[in-house]
């Protein structure tokens, strides 16, 4: 009723005051100051940016340098790895032959596990002890035949016992503690792992975005095929030493993501995302650590046993493997080093949630640059890891046995932490965008450990650089 009553009134106002009724007249012409003031406000905002642009450029330059450096060193590493894999096959073959000829076995034959670990006891010159895995291939069979013929009391012969077999309780403890050792036995309750990694990811054109009001909803199923490599890791674990190289051979899998970009105002937005990741990875680590004479135990007959923990970095934290070696009348120099080359096959699936508030430095039709700082958390649905190590002495395999050990089954739990990035994207057309993202991720590898005072906390610090291509529907 009332609507009808006032219909004419409404129509009158609409017709007079809508666009058609508005003509430039004195009463509706704002002063020129309005426009100039608005421009000066916008200019002032833009003037803040050069610093950030310089910072971004520096960051990209540094990361670009790191990538170049990584790729330069990568070729050598690849050769080493290829040789190591060949050696692994040869050793496995030798092992098989020996199993078929039990009379030729020795006293140290133990339950065999497949794998390749490369632990090397070296002389005092660390420079000469760096790259010996290339020498493995020609020596592997020679050493195995030498072993078959050599008497066990050969003074130059070094023997190793397999990795310590953990029972179920120990396995769970290892998984829970992440370092395999209660924190009370470590000089520090906080472990920091520094990783430098780069990723190159190409997202196929499957990203769907929808804008409702000013918020952007996105659904982005995509396949990951990225290469990650890191040539430097460092940890404050007491006897973990430091890694010479940490190279992820491949990094592939798939991910499904959905989320919303909530626009707060022209400068701020918040990205919420829920993701599912499944990925396979093969990592190669090369570590070295001093040979600690205090860890030697003298055995009857002049031989000695040496036991040490090898630290392994995995996506869910730090694992430590206890390795025992028996030396028979072998004189180890005072400043000897142990070198370790590990191959880890990982199969990891997680669901993750991230909340990243984002400040937009520039937001234009073609170009968008923003800084985000927020939180990420992942719940581990499944994690399986297989490790492979081998032992070498002065560049030669000292044992023709190989080991393969499945990692302890991980307990389902959360990992996550603080995540920050600088994101730059350029829309090359209505549908295609190119992006570059540099990020820093400080993740706590076990939230359970964080809550418990008697468990080691492991933080991983990761710097990364991602390139991506996206398609908008």
């Amino acid at each position: 009723m009332e609507e009808n009553k006032y219909n004419d009134l409404d129509k009158l106002f609409r017709s007079r005051l809508k666009e058609d009724g508005i003509h430039p007249e004195e009463w509706n012409t704002p002063s020129d100051d309005v426009f100039h003031n608005a421009l000066s406000i916008i200019d002032e905002r833009r003037r803040k940016f050069p610093f950030l642009w310089i910072l971004l450029a520096l960051l990209i330059l540094i990361l670009g340098g790191v990538i170049t450096w990584q790729y330069v060193t990568l070729s050598t590493l690849k050769t080493e790895i290829a040789n190591l894999e060949k050696t692994q096959d040869q050793i496995l073959e030798t092992q098989k032959e020996r199993t078929e000829q039990p009379t030729l076995g020795n006293n140290n034959s133990t339950p065999k596990r497949a794998g390749v670990d490369n632990i090397e006891v070296q002389g005092s010159d660390p420079e000469t002890s760096v790259d010996n895995s290339t020498a493995l291939t020609p020596n592997a069979q020679a050493v195995s035949s030498e072993e078959e013929e050599a008497p066990t009391d050969d003074p130059d012969n070094v023997r190793m016992v397999p990795f310590k077999q953990l029972d179920k309780a120990e396995v769970e403890q290892t998984a829970l503690y992440r370092s395999g050792t209660p924190v009370s036995s470590l000089p520090t309750s906080q472990i920091n792992e520094f990783l430098l990694s780069t990723n190159v990811a190409i997202d196929p054109p499957l990203i769907i975005t929808e804008t409702i009001l000013e918020d952007q909803h996105f659904w982005s199923p995509y396949m990951l095929w990225s290469s990650e490599l890191s040539t430097f890791t460092m940890s404050n674990l007491p006897d973990a030493g430091f890694s010479l190289t940490d190279y992820d051979k491949y990094y592939r899998g798939m991910a499904l993501g959905a989320g919303v970009k909530q626009q707060i105002n022209s400068l701020w937005s918040i990205d919420y995302a829920l993701t599912y990741h499944k990925q396979y990875n093969q990592s190669h680590y090369k570590d070295r650590m001093p040979y600690d004479k205090q860890k030697e135990e003298k055995l009857p007959g002049g031989s000695r046993s040496y036991s040490t923990d090898i630290s392994i970095v995995s996506p869910t934290g730090q694992l430590r493997e206890n390795v025992e070696m028996t030396f028979q009348n072998k004189d180890i120099p005072d400043q000897a080093e142990i070198k370790n080359h590990t191959i880890i096959d990982q199969d990891l699936s997680t669901i993750g949630l991230s909340i990243v508030p984002r400040y937009h430095l520039v937001r234009a039709l073609k170009f968008d640059a923003s800084i985000g700082l927020g939180l990420k958390a992942h719940y581990i649905l499944n994690f399986d890891e297989k490790m492979a190590m081998a032992l070498y002495h002065e560049g030669e395999p000292i044992k023709s046995e190989t080991f393969r050990q499945e990692s302890p089954p991980m307990l389902n739990e959360f990992f996550g932490g603080l995540y920050g990035n600088v994101d730059v994207r350029y829309n090359i057309s209505d549908h295609f965008s190119l992006g570059l993202q540099t990020g820093y991720y400080r993740s706590l590898t076990s939230l359970k450990a964080y809550k418990s005072e008697d468990k080691a906390r492991t933080y991983m610090h990761t710097l990364n650089l991602n390139f991506w291509v996206a398609y908008r529907m």
Binding site: F13, L17, H23, W27, S266, A364
Partner: protein, 156 residues
């Protein structure tokens, strides 16, 4: 140039939401900053530029009014200054005259009238935008229309 093409239209919107020219200019300035900063977000496939920009101007006005209401609560007791505009003797139903009629309305009535009649929002949406109940929105619209009707009758 974009500004010169739309400035009168945008300013007319600002005048409808504000009592006086100074507040309207402040609103327009804020709206311009937002429009030019957000130009990159405008997607021509989703609608006309004019509608997109007008919406920003209306939102800026509402933001401004909300802020002013807050400030007024903080300095309670001080009556908001209203500038009486000189009545034009020209065309009695000119856009200018009609804008001034709207300006004369109390703030609550004016906002509801602008949003309902001029922008086309329904009472539920107005309730959410202005943080008032649907009943209040209806009642304020009724009173606004009644006042405007009386003013028009006097003019005519």
């Amino acid at each position: 140039m974009l500004y010169h093409r739309y400035k009168n239209l945008w300013f007319a919107i600002c005048l409808r939401y504000n009592h006086n020219q100074f507040d309207a200019e402040d609103c327009l300035q804020n709206a311009l900053v937002k429009i030019f900063s957000k130009l990159g977000q405008f997607d021509s496939r989703k609608g006309r530029f004019k509608d997109w920009a007008n919406r920003i101007v209306v939102n800026e006005n509402l933001l401004f009014l909300r802020q002013r209401t807050k400030d007024r609560k903080m300095t309670e007791g001080i009556t908001p200054e209203t500038v009486s505009q000189p009545e034009s003797s020209e065309n009695t139903l000119s856009p200018e005259r009609m804008t001034r009629l709207i300006q004369k309305l109390p703030e609550g009535y004016r906002n509801v009238f602008n949003l309902y009649v001029m922008e086309g929002y329904n009472h539920k949406e107005i309730g959410q935008i202005l943080d008032i109940s649907v009943g209040t929105s209806k009642s304020q619209l009724h009173k606004a229309r009644k006042m405007l009707q009386q003013e028009l009758e006097v003019l005519l």
